[in-house]
């Protein structure tokens, strides 16, 4: 099953984390492969370490939007590593019930990850494995393939009033 959280509003990543918690509560084995965030930047990452049944991987910590000096080719190479990791996990005997692919929509949208390769890799998922992809700008093709799609739509956000990202809330 393929689930997608997309849209320009707050709540995509936090909904994925909440989904992880719900699944762990059922004794599921869960894996998160995260792009563009760095291993130590987000509050939730401090919690991941404490949770049993959860494997957490982070690739391509720096997105050129925030770090303009990063070369596109370097980011592409790191995103490819993320896909190789996903392939290994999907082919492994250690079954995961839920695999969260954090910000993979962004990677495809911004040309760091090949959509064909992503689709080919997730097609390796065994039945009853849930794959949840987050990030704004989900591709039409992924949306067509998905079983569930929610658009997190921004109605209001404090940054419109000039309030910057708040530690504990936004990260």
């Amino acid at each position: 099953m393929l689930y997608i959280y997309t849209g320009n509003g707050k709540g995509k990543t936090t909904a994925a984390i909440g989904q992880v918690m719900r699944s762990l509560g059922r004794g599921w084995r869960v894996c998160i492969i995260q792009l563009f965030k760095g291993k130590e930047f987000y509050g939730e990452q401090k919690m991941f370490k404490k949770l049993r049944g959860l494997d957490f991987y982070s690739f391509a910590p720096k997105h050129p939007f925030c770090f303009p000096k990063i070369k596109k080719s370097a980011v592409q190479a790191q995103c490819r590593q993320a896909l190789i990791k996903l392939e290994k996990i999907l082919k492994s005997k250690k079954r995961r019930n839920l695999i969260v692919l954090e910000e993979f929509n962004i990677a495809v949208r911004d040309g760091f990850m090949n959509l064909r390769e992503l689709i080919k890799t997730i097609s390796l998922a065994p039945d009853n494995t849930y794959i949840l992809i987050t990030g704004r700008g989900a591709s039409k093709e992924l949306i067509e393939k998905a079983d569930l799609v929610t658009e997190m739509k921004e109605i209001k956000h404090p940054y419109r009033k000039g309030i910057r990202a708040i530690k504990g809330v936004e990260y």
Copy 2:
């Protein structure tokens, strides 16, 4: 600060849980007051017990939509208890940084909770306390008061294809 997650798509409650995890990761004190869900039904509830810094309260476990024999007056009385609990928490010396009011939008929409009383109670929140209200059908007045509003909009959902709620995913 008042945050609202509303809309008809999957992700409101899970986004609130993810927000809880992020805030706990920052050492925040967090409180969840939940309506209409029962203490033992959701996978995430098994995780709540394991988390330090989190207080979890549940009221009005049965919504008449699912349990038609429940009297409206009984649900109203239980929702009032939830508001009284919220008032106590907001007036307490033990400060909470984040308070999640799960499905309070539904309580207002369905006439189990008085909007004026809810607004009056949340206005007691100290500065720098984040209140996050979830549930579809957020009232216009709450949306106007809010600092952040995300609409979780259903684009696709497996139940449209007749697939029932899945343990570990939907609950």
